[in-house]
């Protein structure tokens, strides 16, 4: 700890940081643009000038940039000094010389860091009467708007997009006052994290295009703390609602999970919530069609239906509460997780590792601090995108070490990068096809999933004699990876269930165990699962209850009734198996948000609420349970799944969470997530609407001039109104971050213990799983031979499309691609396929587009199933491809891969 004096007041600060960061940590107001807590300082904007004094005798001092000066012990500075203030005012005046008169028609207005800083610096009148510089805008795809005139050249966009997120298609161009931030030509911003530009840009150059289509100022949004349901990372989000539709999602800071950034699936994949295709009313099948229930019939529905034994099939995309309610209804022996059989087996293995004390599940923050990483067969960019962004930071640990050796502080961003050049911490990617992380990887091994597992086992046997030996085709690489892991301070092994291979998870466990043997400490083993609550539902369901057996019990007529909760069974099992089971079921009740192939078979269909319409808990890949609050009400007939499934229609979600904590093993700590009403001033509610929420007496007056009573939320500590005590001090329950003078999301520093640290009253979720005992070594399975003429299958995923719900969102649809099968040029030649040809898989009617890629092992085919275009459970471990004559409208447009085979085939 160091002591610095700011304007005569002494503060205890961290000497490893710069003055700007420490001033902000102390809650002082100091304007800045180019500095970002995650990206360090470059001193580009000159906005954070302060006066620094040599000693107490020094009365003159010198002007320094706070972001470029270390907070060294004994530093004496002044923010309030008139020269420093004057400089900041002049700097912002010059930054604003060409800023257009746009605020009323700018999406950033009202949450603009530039507006805040201008006000803070005191610049209020434009004296410069010469011409403004103007720029042409670019088309940047369906997510991001470009309005280059507003730029103040702080360089944050390229520093995030290129340096932090590894993008290649956004750059600073031209020189002096012509500097331009854009692509080399119009086109879609390719990086998966482009949406963060909206929050990173301090002004309105990059704005949210989707939000702009139904724009609302920040102060008019009704928001609440929520959790993203796009994948199993569980990033924290703030969705905002207005006029009964969900308008946007922005990042909500969680020091352990997502920090400051979200992926584009999470940010833009929400507008299915507003879709008219959603199920609207509880209905039953009469003849061929569905007929809505009337209120009276609805109340007795469950009692009538629940008479007798029935099977309950849960879902990894439903909350713990809904799954638990279903389990209570049907009994534990009849409750199924709803995962596909092979995925269930893999997930159980993941859970086994999650309880093994030799391992540790790293959070995103922890992944960023690892200095040697092996990714085994998992395409993290497409299955858990936020992890991929963390890996890009993990490879920078080498440069931070180098900088530390040279006494360069870590926040000196440009210096650290200049010093390190291409020196990176090792990242070994073992995958079936080229991934989007290849540019920072130290080793890329491309092979079939089975062969990759062999490499994994071989790495483990290099590290420990106890691990079973395995054949390896990549001996040198394997040795090198083993050496890197051995030398690392904090090694990390990543695998997951998405490759559909148990052996890969076992191999990852072997590597981690081998490292554990030699080090004694718990080793970071990150096992990824695909959906938001895969772990939660797997913890609730009996591991022996397999979906296949549920379907055969139904098909055999052992049980006549079934309840399916937010699950499309046709995505989880072969069509024939589901068909025969559902045909035999006498009564099928399906709860879901959308019409699916399963609801088409149902006798009773009940609409359920979307993630922003109910309070729920989800368990992420680490076993971290997080609470997501309801943001707005559903004005149609949908109810939360658990509410349909409980006898007591007035049930309270908090009671259900408490009950789940009591009754379900492994969920004992779930009720820690609930805020206690006693924590709040006079037990008053926290308003979801901001203190400047407008239009209260006019928004419904076209319907009726007599204003309705404010809706009461009897479910949570939040209120659907402006009434109550705003959570301006309590970061746990804060929807949109706001602090006086800080209208943009940068106000989050006012809620952090220290900048980039935990939130005050920090609530980062609750880790549910406890570790005890140590498991076993696994041995490499025998390699199964592939039938002649067939290709080994490696499942492929896409960030836009592989998640069932976000794929229903119109925005995401613009970036989705059709089902494809990636093959090597050699195989394409053999099969007579050209780029973009329609291909039939196994001749069973599954169609995909041929995608010929250079970086794929001949003899393997990476199959992307599209959004339900191919049933993955009807394709085995190997596949026979034939050219199809069906002239479809499918194409590869929207596919962004670097290794697409360009030659005319």
């Amino acid at each position: 700890m160091a002591k610095i004096v700011v304007d005569g007041v002494e503060y205890e600060v961290n000497p490893d940081n710069n003055l700007l960061q420490e001033c902000l940590s102390q809650g002082l107001d100091l304007p800045y643009f180019c500095w970002h807590p995650c990206m360090g300082s470059v001193g580009a904007c000159r906005q954070c000038a302060v006066k620094q004094y040599r000693d107490e005798e020094d009365k003159d001092g010198i002007l320094v940039m706070a972001c470029m000066t270390a907070a060294s012990d004994g530093a004496i500075i002044s923010i309030e000094d008139s020269q420093a203030k004057d400089m900041r005012e002049r700097v912002i005046e010059s930054l604003m010389i060409s800023h257009p008169h746009d605020c009323p028609v700018c999406e950033e207005g009202g949450e603009c860091h530039l507006q805040d800083m201008t006000l803070m610096s005191g610049h209020n009148y434009r004296r410069y009467d010469k011409k403004k510089v103007t720029h042409r805008n670019q088309y940047l795809g369906p997510f991001i708007n470009h309005e280059m005139n507003r730029c103040i050249t702080c360089y944050r966009c390229v520093r995030f997009y290129d340096d932090y997120a590894g993008g290649t298609d956004l750059a600073a161009q031209a020189a002096h006052h012509h500097v331009y931030f854009g692509r080399h030509q119009d086109g879609v911003l390719e990086n998966e994290f482009s949406g963060n530009l909206v929050e990173v840009c301090p002004t309105g150059v990059f704005t949210d295009k989707v939000f702009s289509d139904h724009y609302t100022r920040k102060w008019d949004l009704q928001s609440a703390p929520s959790v993203c349901t796009g994948c199993a990372v569980g990033c924290n989000t703030t969705p905002g609602e207005r006029y009964r539709s969900l308008r946007r999602i922005v990042n909500r800071y969680n020091s352990e999970v997502n920090g400051y950034f979200l992926c584009d699936r999470g940010r833009f994949g929400f507008d299915y919530v507003n879709s008219d295709e959603r199920l609207q009313a509880a209905s039953k099948r009469v003849g061929g069609g569905l007929q809505a229930f009337d209120e009276a019939a609805l109340s007795g529905l469950l009692t009538e239906f629940a008479d007798g034994e029935m099977i309950g099939i849960g879902s990894p995309r439903a909350s713990n509460e809904s799954n638990f309610a279903l389990r209570c209804l049907v009994g534990e022996q009849n409750f199924y997780s709803g995962l596909a059989d092979d995925e269930q087996e893999a997930t159980q293995l993941v859970l086994e590792m999650a309880r093994d004390q030799a391992f540790h599940s790293p959070s995103i923050r922890e992944i960023e601090s690892c200095d040697a990483v092996v990714v085994l067969g998992e395409d993290v960019t497409n299955t858990a995108p936020r992890v991929a962004l963390a890996l890009r930071q993990a490879v920078r640990n080498r440069s931070l070490d180098l900088a530390a050796d040279c006494n360069i502080p870590a926040w000196q961003d440009a210096a650290v990068r200049e010093l390190a050049q291409n020196e990176r911490s090792p990242l070994a990617l073992l995958s079936s096809y080229a991934s989007r992380l290849d540019d920072v990887a130290s080793d890329c091994v491309i092979d079939s999933p089975a062969a990759l597992a062999q490499q994994g086992f071989a790495i483990a046997s290099e590290l420990s004699n106890q691990a079973a030996a395995a054949e390896s085709d990549h001996g040198d690489t394997v040795k090198r990876i083993a050496q890197q892991l051995k030398a690392a301070k904090r090694p990390l092994i990543i695998a997951g269930t998405s490759a559909g291979s148990i052996a890969l998870i076992q191999a990852a466990a072997n590597i981690a165990r081998a490292l554990h043997e030699s080090r004694g400490a718990a080793i970071d083993l990150c096992l990824l699962v695909p959906e938001v609550n895969t772990l939660g539902v797997s913890l609730l369901a009996n591991p022996d209850n397999r979906l296949g057996s549920a379907l055969s019990r139904l098909a055999a007529g052992e049980v006549k009734k079934a309840v399916v909760l937010e699950n499309d069974l046709y995505r989880r099992a072969p069509r024939a198996a589901v068909d025969s089971a559902l045909a035999k079921a006498e009564q099928l009740l399906v709860i879901d948000q959308f019409e699916t192939a399963t609801t088409d078979q149902a006798d009773i269909v009940l609409p359920s609420t979307a993630f922003s319409e109910h309070e729920a808990t989800y368990v992420n890949y680490e076993g971290r349970a997080q609470l997501s609050f309801q943001v707005h009400r559903n004005y149609r007939g949908a109810r939360p799944g658990w509410r349909w499934l409980m006898e007591d229609a007035d049930g309270n979600v908090e009671d259900l969470i408490n009950r789940c904590a009591e009754e379900a093993t492994a969920f004992a700590k779930l009720d820690d997530l609930l805020p206690a009403a006693g924590d709040f001033v006079a037990s008053m509610k926290i308003p979801r609407q901001s203190h400047r929420y407008s239009g209260r007496t006019a928004m419904r007056s076209n319907v009726n001039v007599h204003e309705p009573k404010q809706p009461i939320d009897d479910q949570s500590v939040l209120a659907f109104s402006m009434e109550g005590i705003p959570a301006s001090k309590d970061a746990r329950l804060m929807g949109a971050a706001w602090s006086p003078g800080w209208n943009s999301n940068q106000s989050i520093s006012k809620f952090q213990d220290e900048v980039n640290g935990e939130l005050k009253q920090g609530d980062t979720g609750t880790l549910l799983l406890e570790r005890s005992g140590s498991g076993q070594w696994y041995s490499a399975p025998a390699q199964a031979a592939t039938p002649a003429g067939e290709l080994q299958v490696a499942p492929a995923y896409q960030i836009f499309g592989s998640d069932e719900l976000s794929a229903r969102s119109p925005t995401i649809r613009q970036r989705m691609t059709d089902a494809y099968v990636s093959i090597a040029p050699k195989d394409a030649e053999r099969l007579g396929l050209k780029q973009g040809d329609a291909v039939s898989l196994n001749g069973n009617g599954s169609l995909a587009t041929a995608c010929i890629r250079t970086r794929i092992k001949p003899g393997t085919a990476a199959v992307y199933c599209g959004d339900g275009q191919i049933n993955p459970h009807e394709i085995g471990d190997s596949v026979a491809l034939t050219k199809s004559d069906v002239a479809g409208e499918r194409s590869l447009s929207g596919l962004i891969v670097s290794d697409l085979y360009e030659e005319d085939y």
Binding site: P104, V105, V133, E147, A174, H176, S694
Partner: protein, 179 residues
Amino acid sequence: MYTLIKDTLLTQVRTLWLVFRKLFSKADTVEYPDVQPYMFPRWRGRIILSRDPDGEERCVACNLCAVACPVDCIALQKGEMEDGRWYPEFFRINFSRCIMCGFCEEACPTNAIQLTPDFEMAEYVRQDMVWEKEDLLISGTGKYHDYSFYNVAGKQIAGKDKGEALNESPPVDVRSLLP
């Protein structure tokens, strides 16, 4: 006795005299509505939405009037024309809540929303006091005749390219090396 007469009788007579005198002075009241009072141009009465000198809607749906409104009686939704011009998809004022404070006019960055001297807004049915954009939008410029927001804003719209607004130089050619 004298005091009693002075305090009761004489004051009564005086009062009668004063009232009688008023019979010959000019009346202050006017025969409204047959006679209309003079309203000062800056009187804060009925709210209107005005148009640009070129006839386009002035309102850009920035929401500042709504947030300035102390009784929250303005609700609107931003829309966007093909050419990038912002406009309100709907604009609603609940005049049964409006207190004619004029904050909306002060907040308006485009001079779109203006208060007029018209005060005759009484209705028999309260629901009729809810005015939509069609009711509010007039065909003229109101009090401010020359101002057109898009002529000073940097945003490009039909008929006004980048660099054609007030005090703007033509768009930069990024590929040029010239200063």
